[in-house]
Amino acid sequence: MTADVRAGFRYIGQRRRPKEDRRFVTGSGRYAADVTLPGMLHVALVMSPHPAARIVAIDTAAALALPGVRAVVTGAELMQGTEPILSGLDLPSMKRYPLALGVVRYAGEWVAAIVAESRALAEDAAELVEVDYEPLPQVIDPEAAMQPDAPRVHGDLDGNVLYRRRFVWGPVAADFAAPAHKVAYRARWHRSATVPIETFGVVARWNPAQQLLDVWASVQMPKFPEHLARALRLPGSGICAHFDVDVGGSYGVKRGLKHAILVGYLARSLGVPVRLLEDRLDNMRGGDAHGPDRIFDVEMAFDDDGVVRALKIRAIDDVGAYAGRAALQLGKPITAIVGPYRIRSVAYEPISVCTNKTPEEAVRGFGQGPTNFALETGMDLIARQLGLDRVEVRRRNLIRTDEFPYTIPSGSSYDSGDYHAVLDKVLAAADWSTLVERRDAARAAGRLAGVGLCCCLEPSGGNASFEPLFNPQASNTTWMEGCQIKVDQTGSIVASIGTNSSGQGHETLVATVVGEVLERDPDTVRVVRADSLGALPSHSAVGSRMAIMLGGAAAGAARKLKQGLIAIGAHNLKVAAEACIYVDGAVALAADPAERLGWQQLIDIAHRHFHLLPPGTEPGLQASYVWEVPTGGALPGADGRVQMYPCYTFESHVVYAEIDRITGQTRLGGYFAGHDCGVMINPDIVHGMTYGGIAHGIGAALYERFHYDDDGQLLSGSFMDYLIPSAHEVPNIVIVDHCTPSPLTTFGQKGSGEAGYLGAPAAIASAVNDALAPLGLHIAVVPMTVAALGDLLATKDVQR
């Protein structure tokens, strides 16, 4: 499928009310916590207080004796009835079950599950479970964990390094030997996550007569039903995952496989519906939903003019106690490892390390946000080292618009872009020189002020071809998405999709695209969610892919349906299909458009008048389409070069910041984001996700951190200490749109679900470091909290 439409859209790109909004503003969304079934029981969890310990004994007698308690389950029982959760890496000996088995590996790990008639009773009973632990040595720091004599998180593994490989793409050694200048630095991205306001929830009901497990989960996960079926030793058709559950935010982390396995097991073994809802404290410690925790050691080789020739990155990622799929977050950034820059050779050494912390889960951008921050830190350092303007250094390195499609050293081809135009646009909108004057005036008045910028990419389209690089057992080369459309006898259009949504507006997306192709008002297109038994294949809303993939699948199905309508019309107009045109749902003679069959006439023929259908035509009016990721389908070569994501969205941010000299508090006083995601299907939705992504990036840059003490205890496990930006911390953001259509997609669209987040930390770090520059200070650690900046300023004994 190629981009055959470029302009003159009827519905695409127009401001339209999202279809979903009305049910949410009236309080009639239906989230996992809203699913109540007759006789349903409730789960509370006993969690380990120790980061590393052997479980000597578990005494559940007192808990079981509490009236209303129906069961207490431990790891020993659960493992009899379930298969371990698969790791994303090739680690067959790393067994992971929802409940700890003999050993706990992080504070917060689930040890036992209580099932009771109410949540409150279950929690009461959880306090009565007596667990006898024998503490073991723990390791919290990822670099300490890499030492040969470090305590082992998993006794049956050789060490704590789970994955390590050095990729070399291009003449790295020669490029580092030749150039005039080098910069070497460390960039630290501390552990944070997306932390949706809804915690994870799941309800399951076993139907023995049908041998079927119904599941309602707050989930955003590719192949969730299949993973669940495997773990519960059921066929795929033994799980019915209901995708019509509204998900209260996810941005990557709502996987909840261990929750669903536990609840599925309990529902089946007890013969009653069971619900598990994390409370906030459960979620933060034991929800296994932390994000990347990363140490970058970077070297850049560059010329006198600031043009970067070569790049070396060593990235250590602390995955926590178990390596789920999240460990692959070191892999996805390979698809944009040079960012938007013309860097011709790269060495990349990803190292995945386990420690006694809460496991990591997929977070918005799947590792790209930290990588962008590390790259942009280098661009600013080069400018500082050469005494050049930061904007100019970027201009000299950005890929030029006439160079697309542009293949980067690691093998991916960037589809399209006009990076210089977007940069110029955002600089103009922000009035960069005025911002600099404002900064200088603030400095003259004795304040710490800075202006920051970034240029970053959002790879989109979600192709998991990094998997084979990290796991030799993985050989996936497709990451497809499907959509089915039917038109009923009354002429109503119903499109069916096979995944949950967590705020991305997929119903609006599909209705708009179907309306566009069929030339029908999108408000009349109903979009439903098939359950997992009825749905076509989906890989869910990950990897910033749905505008591209679900949009493409919906368009593909709509086009097939439209071809069917044209065939019916042509047959009844007694001409060839090529002699007909399709207008507003009618089929007319091209030569005489008054000669036509209207929408309802065509529908009547399809549904009721078999005798008027072209010979060999299937009656009714329905079409389905499953789309492979454009440019996908190839395995990596031996050097690890592979085409990963198809589309590349560009963003360039400009931000003004001041730091309070006394408190170290950073205030943002102006935020501008240039953004090119190709053709926007619904601008309000794209802008909304971008504003939200920036807010999330502000959190990662300045406030949010899962902070552990040396004893392995999480110190920021509530909203009192894990600080999510409020309306006070997020400034009024100005978005500057630009449109470079993708040549690879149906309408020229690219992804935007990770927009903002992938640039904001880099831009804010740039502004903070600009503010610190007059003091000779530099920080390449996020979050740049009040404490971190206050301590840094104290080293200079700034006017306190």
């Binding site: 949410f24 503003v25 969304g29 989230y31 949706p196 209260g248 906030r280 920036i694 509530s718």
Partner: protein, 180 residues
């Protein structure tokens, strides 16, 4: 198992009568039951959400006797004899939406919808006493409600739009507001 006196009191049952969205409800509840759990689990009014259950996120915000409160920090027994307004009670009729709700739809002041009921109540509280709020007023009013999707921009804009629409609706005939 023996309960301590405190535990026994927490689990003691009390009959309460609460008017919720104009309907009177009488129920026997445990002293420890929170108002949000009463609304969600007893009355099945699931529009009000729980995000943190420790009074920070604001997802559970409801109006209690004319003021917005976090219903996770209020016990149901404390609401006895009171009037509660939840998101389900904002619309003038089941088929309709309030001006505020409509403005949220118009400007897409939401995404996943989870914080939305609390946001709407916080904004409703503001608009009850201020129909000409500044951006700062709006940010102050929703400052205790966390949203992870929107970055607040479209929410702030939606509340401003609702204020403008409401003040126009209330403007005397023949005024500039009426002409607009």
């Amino acid at each position: 198992m023996t309960l301590s006196p405190g535990e026994a009191e927490a689990m003691s049952l009390h009959e309460i009568t609460v008017m919720v969205n104009g309907t009177v409800h009488t129920a026997r509840v445990q002293a420890r039951l929170t108002l949000v759990d009463f609304l969600r689990e007893v009355l099945m009014l699931t529009g009000t959400h729980t995000g943190c259950e420790h009074g920070v996120c604001g997802a559970c915000t409801v109006m209690l006797d004319g003021s917005s409160v976090r219903s996770c920090l209020v016990f149901a027994v404390q609401a006895a004899g009171s009037q509660v307004l939840t998101v389900e009670g904002l619309a003038p009729d089941p088929e309709g939406m309030s001006v505020l709700q409509d403005s949220f739809c118009e400007l897409h002041g939401l995404q996943c919808g989870f914080c939305t009921p609390g946001m709407l109540i916080a904004a409703h509280d503001l608009l009850q006493h201020n129909l000409a709020p500044t951006e700062e007023d709006i940010r102050e009013a929703i400052g205790g409600n966390l949203c992870r999707c929107t970055g607040y921009k479209q929410i702030v804009d939606a509340v401003a739009l609702a204020a403008e629409r409401l003040s126009r609706a209330n403007a005397p005939k023949g005024s500039a507001g009426d002409a607009a």
